[in-house]
C-alpha cells in the first residue's frame, strides 16, 4: 500500500517541500530509503523501527520502501524521522488514510518514541503556508518558533502516540511557554563605559546610518565593550527583518528556546582565528557563516590584523553587496549578509603607538602591522575612531551624566525615521547605502560645508571614495542633528572620524600621508 506525507528540506535559508512516500508491500522483509539522502536520513530507518517496537506497534514483516521526492534535491538532517514514521504508519493502516493530507510534518525521533526538536522549523512553516497547507506538525519544543507564522495552525507533538492521537482528532495540550522577554532589556548598556565621549559618538553615528566602524586603540581600552553595546542602540528589528533573522537562526538551529521570533539585533564576535568557511559560509553542502548570522545586526571582528588575509578579503563581497553567494559542488546558495561591521585593532604589535614612550615597535613593525589590512578592505569602512586608554579618574568617577543606551537609542530612532522617510520607495534603507549618484541628490550642503569638503579634498588628499564616505557620514550626522542640509560642522566631524588609508600610520616622511597643510606638502 502506498501513501505520501508532506515534509520539507532546507536549501540555503529557505525550505523546499519534500514528499515522503512510503510503500509497504509483500516480499522479503526490507526497509530502504532512497531519494538523494544523507547518512543521517538513512539512519532514520533504525530509529523509526526501534521506536515503533518500544511503543508497542508491531511492524509486519513487509517490504518497506521510502522515497523522498524530488529526487535531485539533497536531503540532510534528522527532520525526516517523523514524516517517515507517519508515512509508514499510514501505509500500514495505524493512521487513517489522508488524515494528514493537508499537514506538513517535521521532527526527529528518539528510540522511545518521543520527539526531539529540529533546526529550520520557521522556514518550513512558511513554506507549508505558501504551499497551502492548513496544519504544520512540529516537535513541541519548536512549536513557539513555528507559531510566529500567521495563517497556519502549528501543532507541537511530544511523541508518536500524540501524532497518532492527533490523526484521530485529539489535539495534544501543552503548557504555554513563558511570555516573551522585553526586547529592549539588554544586559549591557553604554552607561557602563566611562568617559570615551568620542567613541560613543562614533558608535552613535555608526548605528544611525549603519556605517561600518573601525576602532583602534591600546589593549584594554574598551574596544570590545563598545562593540558589544552597539546592538543595544540599534532600533529593534521590524517584522520583516525579524522574520529574515529568525529564519537564518532557525536553519542553523540557534533559535533560543521558547522565543517565537528573534527581535534583538544579532551580535556576532568570532575569534580572529576563524576560517574563511566559518566566516562566510560554505562547505561541501553550503551552510551559512558568521556574516549571515550577523545579518541585520553587528559583526564584531576583534584583532583584525591578526586574521588571515584570505579570510579578511572574503569579507569584501558581502560588505559591498550585502549578501554572499556560495557556489560548491553540492549546490549554490545565496545567503543574506547585511551587517554592520565593527572592526577593532591595536595600532601596532605592542598596541601603544603613537605613545613613543610606551611603544617600542620600530617604524617598520608599525607599518607592516597596519599594512595587513588591505586598502580595498579599509575602503569599505566609513568611520574610524581612536579608543584611548582609560584614565584612572574617568574609571572611578561615578558620573550620573554618563550617556545611556536608552538616550542614544532615541537619537538613533529619530535619525533612522528621517532616513526611512527620505528614501521611501528608492530601495535605500540607510545613509551608508547611498551610491555616488544618489549622494548628489540627497546630500545637499551649505556653502560653508561645500567649501570645507573641497579644502579637505585638496589638503587631505581624499580619494573619490574617501570623499563619498565623508559625505555619507556627514549626512548621518546632519540627520542626528535634525537638519536637512549638511553644514560645515557636520562635514568637519565626518572628516575627523574618517578612515584613512593607513589607519594610524606614523608620518615619518614629509608629505607621505595625512594632512599636509602644516608643511606645505611635497610639491612635485
Amino acid at each position: 500500500m502506498f501513501c505520501s506525507i508532506l515534509s520539507s528540506a532546507i536549501s540555503g535559508v529557505e525550505a523546499v517541500p519534500v514528499e515522503v512516500e512510503a510503500d509497504v508491500s509483500d516480499g522479503m522483509p526490507y526497509f530502504t530509503i532512497v531519494g538523494y539522502v544523507s547518512p543521517q536520513v538513512k539512519e532514520a530507518q533504525e530509529r523509526v523501527r526501534t521506536a515503533f517496537r518500544n511503543i508497542g506497534i508491531l511492524m509486519a514483516p513487509k517490504r518497506i520502501t521510502i522515497n523522498l521526492a524530488p529526487g535531485d534535491l539533497r536531503k540532510d538532517g534528522t527532520r525526516f524521522d517523523l514524516p517517515i514514521a507517519a508515512a509508514v504508519l499510514e501505509a500500514m493502516g495505524y493512521i487513517g488514510k489522508d488524515s494528514l493530507r493537508s499537514a506538513m510534518i517535521l521532527g526527529e525521533l528518539h528510540l522511545d518514541g518521543t520527539i526531539e526538536k529540529v533546526a529550520g522549523v520557521l522556514p518550513s512553516v512558511i513554506a507549508a503556508k505558501e504551499r497551502g497547507c492548513s496544519i504544520c506538525i512540529v516537535p513541541a519544543d519548536n512549536a513557539a518558533e513555528g507559531g510566529a507564522v500567521e495563517g497556519i495552525r502549528v501543532i507541537g507533538v511530544k511523541s508518536i502516540a500524540e501524532l497518532i492521537a492527533f490523526s484521530k482528532g485529539r489535539e495534544p495540550v501543552h503548557a504555554q511557554d513563558p511570555a516573551e522577554p522585553d526586547m529592549e532589556d539588554y544586559l549591557v548598556d553604554f552607561s557602563d563605559i566611562h568617559g570615551q565621549t568620542a567613541v560613543k559618538r562614533a558608535a552613535l553615528i555608526a548605528a544611525s546610518g549603519f556605517h561600518n566602524l573601525f576602532l583602534s586603540g591600546p589593549p584594554g581600552s574598551g574596544k570590545s565593550m563598545t562593540a558589544e553595546r552597539i546592538p543595544t542602540i540599534l532600533p529593534p528589528l521590524n517584522e520583516e527583518e525579524s522574520l529574515e533573522v529568525s529564519k537564518i537562526y532557525s536553519v542553523v538551529g540557534l533559535m533560543p528556546k521558547g522565543i517565537p521570533l528573534i527581535r534583538r539585533r544579532p551580535f556576532r564576535a568570532p575569534h580572529h582565528s576563524i576560517t574563511p568557511t566559518a566566516l562566510c559560509g560554505g562547505g561541501f553542502y553550503p551552510h551559512p557563516g558568521e556574516v549571515t548570522l550577523a545579518h541585520r545586526g553587528v559583526l564584531f571582528l576583534d584583532e583584525i590584523p591578526e586574521m588571515s588575509p584570505a579570510t579578511l578579503e572574503m569579507l569584501r563581497q558581502p560588505l559591498e553587496s550585502h549578501e554572499i553567494t556560495i557556489s560548491r559542488l553540492g549546490g549554490t546558495c545565496v545567503y543574506p549578509a547585511s551587517f554592520l561591521l565593527v572592526a577593532a585593532a591595536n595600532p601596532c604589535p605592542c598596541g601603544y603607538f603613537p605613545d613613543t614612550n610606551r611603544c617600542y615597535c620600530t617604524h617598520r613593525e608599525v607599518t607592516d602591522y597596519q599594512r595587513k589590512l588591505s586598502k580595498a578592505f579599509m575602503d569599505r569602512i566609513d568611520l574610524k575612531c581612536d579608543v584611548p586608554a582609560v584614565s584612572y579618574e574617568s574609571l572611578t568617577e561615578r558620573d550620573s551624566h554618563e550617556i545611556s543606551s536608552t538616550v542614544m537609542r532615541k537619537k538613533v530612532r529619530k535619525a533612522i525615521a528621517l532616513q526611512r522617510e527620505r528614501y521611501k520607495g528608492t530601495g535605500i534603507s540607510f545613509n551608508s547605502a547611498l551610491t555616488a549618484a544618489s549622494i548628489e541628490k540627497y546630500c545637499t550642503m551649505t556653502e560653508d560645508a561645500a567649501w570645507t569638503v573641497r579644502l579637505a579634498f585638496d589638503k587631505l588628499g581624499l580619494s573619490a571614495r574617501g570623499y563619498h564616505h565623508v559625505v555619507k557620514v556627514a549626512r548621518t550626522i546632519a540627520d542626528l542633528d535634525g537638519q536637512d542640509q549638511i553644514n560645515d560642522a557636520h562635514i568637519s566631524e565626518a572628516i575627523c572620524l574618517r578612515c584613512s588609508e593607513n589607519f594610524s600610520a606614523p608620518m615619518q616622511i614629509p608629505g607621505s600621508n595625512s594632512i599636509r597643510a602644516g608643511y606645505g606638502g611635497a610639491r612635485t
Binding site: 565621549t197 584611548p388 560642522a489 608620518m507 595625512s514 611635497a522
Partner: protein, 344 residues
C-alpha cells in the same frame, strides 16, 4: 629601483669621483677609512661652504619632526649646507626643511645613488636632484640597501660636516654611531635637548651630558660656525621662507637672541614664537572666536586624540571638530597620525 624608463637617464647622470679627481673632498684625506671614491647624482657639496649634518631617529616624535624641519630650514636659509641620510624620520624632515628654504641639501645613501630608499622619500630625492642638491653613495649604482651599509655610510655624513646635529635619538641609536664617527674625526656635536621622560630624547640628553653643544635654537649653531647674523635681515628672510604660513607668523624674540641671550632663554621656540605670540598670530577671523582660542590653547606639540581634546576643552564634539578642521586647513594644527592632533 626607479622605474625603468627613468633608469637609463639617471644612470647617465651618475658620476664617479675617485681619489684623484679634483672634486674629491680634500678633507677626506685627514680621516681614516674613507672610500676610494664616491658615486654622485647631482652636485658634490661645496667645500668652501659650511656644512651641518642633521641626523636622528627614524621613528621620531612630532617634536623631533618639527625641530628637524626647523633647524634644516633655518640653517639652510643662512646658506649652510645640510647633509643627512634620507632615512625615515628626522633625516627626511631635516632635508625637507632645507628644501623649504629653497636650498637643496645633500644626502649620503646606504644604497646605490639610483636606489631611492626608503621609497616614500622619493619626492625629496627628486627635488634634491632637480633643485641643485646631491645624492652621494660609496656603493655601486644598483646596490640594494643592506643593514650593514647604514652604519658605515654614517662616517661619510660626519666627514662632510663641520657640525653634527643630533635631533632625537634613543639610548641605542644609529645616530649615535654618526656622533661617534664625528668625535673621532674631531667634529663638533650638537644635540637638541628634550624631556627626560621621553625615550627619544635620552640619547640626545646623554650626548649633552658628555659635552655636546645644546642646540636650543639654530642661531647657536650659526654662532658656532662663526656666521654672524645681521639682525635686520634675519627675520625677514626667515619669514619669506616660511611660505604657506600665515602673515605675522614671524620669529619674534630672535632679533635680540644674539645680542642678549640671557634675556631670551625663556623663549622656548624662537622659530615658532612663544605660546602667547602664536596665539596672538591667529588670523583675525579666528582671534575673535573664543572656541578657536580655547582649542588652540589646549593643543600641545604631543599629538592628542579627539577624546583627550574633548575632555580638556569640555566642548561638544561637533563644535570641537569644526574648529580642529579649520585650524588644520590653515596650517596651525597637524593631524598625524590620523586622528591625532598637535600644534605645528
Amino acid at each position: 629601483m626607479i622605474s625603468d624608463y627613468r633608469q637609463d637617464e639617471i644612470l647617465q647622470q651618475i658620476r664617479y669621483i675617485n681619489q684623484d679627481d679634483p672634486e674629491y673632498p680634500e678633507r677626506f684625506q685627514n680621516y681614516q677609512r674613507m672610500p676610494m671614491g664616491l658615486y654622485v647624482l647631482g652636485r658634490m657639496p661645496d667645500p668652501d661652504k659650511k656644512t651641518v649634518a642633521i641626523v636622528g631617529a627614524r621613528y621620531c616624535s612630532p617634536y623631533g619632526r618639527a625641530e628637524a624641519s626647523r633647524f634644516g630650514e633655518a640653517l639652510a636659509a643662512k646658506g649652510v649646507q645640510i647633509i643627512s641620510g634620507m632615512a625615515y624620520g628626522i633625516d627626511s624632515w631635516a632635508l625637507h626643511g632645507a628644501l623649504q628654504a629653497g636650498k637643496a641639501p645633500f644626502a649620503v645613501l646606504g644604497s646605490g645613488v639610483d636606489v631611492c630608499y626608503p621609497k616614500e622619500s622619493y619626492t625629496i630625492y627628486r627635488r634634491m636632484i632637480r633643485e641643485g642638491g646631491g645624492i652621494l653613495s660609496e656603493f655601486e649604482p644598483g646596490s640594494e640597501p643592506a643593514a650593514w651599509h647604514f652604519p658605515i655610510r654614517n662616517r661619510i655624513i660626519s666627514a662632510f660636516a663641520d657640525i653634527v646635529l643630533v635631533v632625537e635619538a634613543k639610548l641605542r641609536s644609529g645616530s649615535l654611531i654618526t656622533a661617534d664617527y664625528a668625535l673621532s674625526q674631531g667634529k663638533t656635536i650638537f644635540a637638541v635637548p628634550g624631556r627626560n621622560m621621553d625615550a627619544l630624547s635620552q640619547g640626545c640628553n646623554r650626548l649633552i651630558s658628555q659635552g655636546a653643544g645644546i642646540a636650543w635654537s639654530p642661531e647657536v649653531i650659526l654662532e658656532e660656525l662663526g656666521m654672524v647674523i645681521e639682525p635686520e635681515k634675519q627675520s625677514d628672510e626667515l619669514h619669506k621662507n616660511r611660505k604657506g604660513k600665515l602673515p605675522g607668523d614671524g620669529v619674534p624674540g630672535q632679533q635680540t637672541a644674539i645680542k642678549n641671550r640671557e634675556e631670551n632663554v625663556s623663549a622656548p621656540r624662537s622659530g615658532n614664537g612663544t605660546w602667547k605670540e602664536r596665539t596672538r598670530n591667529l588670523p583675525q577671523k579666528y582671534a575673535h572666536a573664543e572656541d578657536f582660542q580655547k582649542v588652540f590653547g589646549k593643543l600641545t606639540y604631543d599629538p592628542q586624540n579627539l577624546d583627550a581634546l574633548q575632555q580638556r576643552t569640555g566642548m561638544d564634539l561637533t563644535q570641537l571638530t569644526r574648529v580642529l578642521v579649520q585650524l588644520t586647513f590653515s596650517g596651525f594644527v597637524l593631524e598625524s597620525p590620523p586622528g591625532y592632533y598637535s600644534r605645528t
